[in-house]
């Protein structure tokens, strides 16, 4: 649209001296004031930002109460009350985990972050890295439950905050992944019965909101079990998440499978490989590589969706923030609470989405070669 203006007639006599194309003035002219309507828009947006940002900064920092402010001081007026976040920090982060033992959920978070960061490095994409993950998860289980190595036992009804959010999403993902591969293969299978079952499952789950699955886990699932057998609330929520994640991830993997040229299947058949060998050695490695960016995106939305467990009464990060807000002394400081946990969620999701974009570019590059 605007770029057509660059196409100047060739061989025009008496050209004006070329416009300055470097330096801040030229940048401004090219990027903010290149047409009359862009100039107007720029001015309007600047005015808007000028009226919104200073009061926000005022609230956020300049007039804000410091970390040691009490609720009475904060209620006198002024800006944000960071005393609230300071006071409730450990509750928001770790929920009702016994106070003296809270280094354990802290270590859990650290282990998870280390594992996730390491998983981003493609040099670690080797089979032995699965063992590292297994060891990490075992360490997490020991840390959270305790009961061995001199750690006191902590019931999982006391878990909460960020560890719960990460556990629900990471464990959910880890368990759902193999199931999702089977579902995706089933959906593309030649066997009608298997195909129908997989399609029905995937579409059924994708057609209903996650809340209804959590409801099912919360109020219906107990009735499904034999008399006398009961499963605790956290595990039921986890099962609902796994069912949910498996369906969505299966679709991401199906996209990867569809992207593999037919020739690859035929070549594998030509080599005389059986179905599972063909899938394991030829198709899946390629399909999963293609599917990684959509899988990461699925994981991001999954991570955000863990906040829904608040509706069935579990205290994840959002749940603990809301519980902190129901303390009569600190009622009404929701801006600080939501901003704080919003930033935590944002850091996780944003870095994952940036990573997924980078990965997509890298993979595209390798495909082109």
């Amino acid at each position: 649209m605007a770029t057509t203006d660059n196409a100047q007639p060739v061989g025009l006599p008496d050209e004006r001296p070329p416009a300055n194309t470097v330096g801040p003035v030229a940048w401004l002219r090219n990027n903010l004031f290149n047409t009359w309507y862009n100039a107007i828009l720029t001015v309007l947006v600047l005015a808007l930002l000028g009226s919104a940002i200073p009061p926000f900064l005022d609230w956020l920092l300049i007039k804000a109460h410091g970390l040691d402010a009490t609720s009475q001081e904060c209620r006198q007026g002024g800006g944000a009350c960071w005393g609230f976040v300071n006071e409730k920090l450990r509750f928001i982060m770790f929920g009702t985990f016994p106070y003296d033992e809270q280094w354990r959920p802290f270590a859990t978070i650290a282990i998870f972050i280390a594992l996730l960061l390491a998983s981003c490095d493609r040099r670690f994409w080797k089979p032995w890295f699965g063992l590292v993950w297994a060891a990490g998860l075992a360490a997490v289980a020991i840390l959270m439950w305790g009961g061995v190595l001199g750690l006191t036992y902590v019931e999982n009804t006391l878990w909460g905050g960020l560890p719960l959010t990460i556990i629900l999403s990471v464990i959910g993902l880890a368990v759902a992944f193999p199931a999702a591969i089977l579902l995706a293969l089933g959906r593309r299978s030649n066997m009608p019965a298997v195909k129908v079952l997989c399609v029905t499952y995937i579409e059924l789950i994708r057609g209903v909101p996650l809340i209804s699955l959590l409801f099912m886990a919360s109020v219906m699932f107990p009735l499904f079990l034999p008399n006398g057998v009961s499963v605790d609330k956290l595990l039921r929520a986890q099962v609902a998440f796994i069912m949910f994640a498996a369906a969505y991830m299966a679709e991401a993997i199906r996209g990867g499978l569809q992207a593999i040229p037919k020739g690859q299947y035929e070549a594998a058949d030509g080599l005389g490989l059986g179905y599972w060998q063909k899938m394991r050695k030829i198709i899946l490695p390629q399909a999963l590589a293609v599917a990684i960016p959509p899988l990461v995106n699925t994981f991001i939305s999954f991570f955000k969706d863990t906040s829904l467990v608040i509706i069935i009464g579990l205290y994840d990060l959002l749940g603990t923030a809301k519980a902190a807000l129901s303390d009569p002394a600190w009622r009404g400081f929701y801006r600080e609470a939501y901003l704080f946990i919003g930033v935590i969620y944002w850091i996780f999701c944003y870095s994952m989405s940036k990573y997924s974009q980078k990965l997509e570019r890298d993979l595209n590059r390798s495909h082109r070669r």
């Binding site: 009702t96 016994p98 106070y99 019931e155 009804t157 006391l158 019965a193 919360s218 109020v219 219906m220 107990p222 009735l223 079990l225 034999p226 008399n227 006398g228 057998v229 009961s230 609330k233 509706i311 069935i312 009464g313 809301k322 519980a323 807000l325 129901s326 009569p328 009622r331 009404g332």
Partner: protein, 339 residues
């Protein structure tokens, strides 16, 4: 042909899937070593964890009483906090052995929800709380008001009935979690907060920024007998819960408290002898220790002690005995005889 195979497969499956026979609740509980009790997640005075995770409240004490009746140990109980929505599925499915969560006895719950209710532990009624600034003196003046109410409770139904009966209109704000309902009311989203009077007192004492800004209106618009419940299908378990509750009331009738219980063990009164298991028979009939009632009283207390400790005048809730006084003192608390 394929469908024939499927049918055969299905038939083969039918045989393998037989439901396991359900064991008696008492045996399950004994084997497990503790009572799993469903309680309110946060209602001061009835079921409320403190910051260290210790549960207190009237409903909680009845869970402990049942634990004492079985194990002679008030700590052999685990609490499952339940929302209004989760409570019935939790007891129906066996996730909890006992539901002691300020639950109103109603016919529907007794029948189609599949519950059996023990004797009433708290006679309550639904009331209204408003901000003093509104100047409202009676519930009859609430025409057109916005009312905050928790969903899935009998309160929600009584509210509709009351306004309908009085030809008034109202605008409900129905929220699932108790915390959110309170928050909405105190933020000013509603004019009126409605729930059981005891709950209003608890909320005013524990949640209101300035308790004196709020007033509970005199009208009590419903009967809310709150009682522990067990599921249908296990009479022995039902009897245990029923006669544990009765024991606390009977003890108050006899004047037996946790302090003086031992003095009564050698009482000459045959009623008391039977009650405390000095002359045996009653405990065994329930499948419990003969001295179960004595243990309950010593470790948890009689009804009056439980009431005073959790919701009585000395607590932030400041509730009078009222309907919950013994029948001999003009109230409704009355134990069937121990014989």
């Amino acid at each position: 042909m394929k469908s024939g195979i499927l049918a055969a497969a299905a038939a083969a499956v039918v045989v393998t899937a037989t439901a396991g026979a359900g064991a008696a609740t008492l045996d399950t509980v004994k084997q497990r070593g503790f009572v799993q009790c469903g309680v309110n997640a946060g209602l001061p005075g009835f079921g409320n964890p403190d910051s260290a995770g210790n549960w207190t409240g009237l409903d909680v004490d009845y869970c402990r009483a049942v634990a004492v009746a079985i194990f002679n140990d008030p700590n052999k109980v685990k609490f499952t906090p339940l929302s209004a929505q989760q409570r019935f599925p939790a007891i129906q499915s066996g996730e909890v052995d006992l539901l002691s969560r300020n639950t109103t006895v109603t016919l529907t719950r007794d029948t189609s929800v599949g519950l059996n209710f023990a004797p009433v532990t708290y006679y309550d009624g639904q009331g209204f709380m408003v901000n003093k600034k509104l100047g409202v003196k009676s519930a009859k003046e609430l025409n057109g008001a916005t009312v905050c109410v928790q969903s899935g409770t009998t309160t929600e139904l009584n509210l509709a009935d009351y306004f309908r009966a009085n030809n008034m209109s109202y605008n409900p704000v129905v929220i699932e979690s108790n915390d959110e309902v309170n928050a909405a009311y105190f933020a000013g989203r509603c004019d009126v907060l409605t729930t059981d009077v005891s709950g209003l007192a608890g909320t005013r004492a524990g949640v209101a920024p300035v308790p004196d800004d709020h007033v509970i209106l005199p009208e009590v618009i419903s009967k809310e007998p709150l009682a522990p419940a067990v599921r249908h299908g296990d009479d022995q378990w039902f009897d245990i819960v029923k006669w544990t509750v009765n024991a606390t009331i009977q003890a108050e009738e006899f004047g037996i408290t946790s302090k003086n219980a031992d003095e009564f063990v050698n009482s000459k009164n045959p009623d008391i002898q039977r009650f405390l298991g000095t002359s045996p028979g009653l405990g065994k009939a329930l499948g419990l220790d003969e001295k179960y009632a004595l243990n309950v009283i010593k470790k948890v207390g009689n009804y009056g002690e439980i009431f005073d400790r959790n919701v009585g005048p000395g607590t932030p809730l400041k509730l009078e005995r009222g309907l919950n006084a013994l029948w001999t003192k003009g109230g409704l608390q009355y134990s069937a005889p121990f014989r």
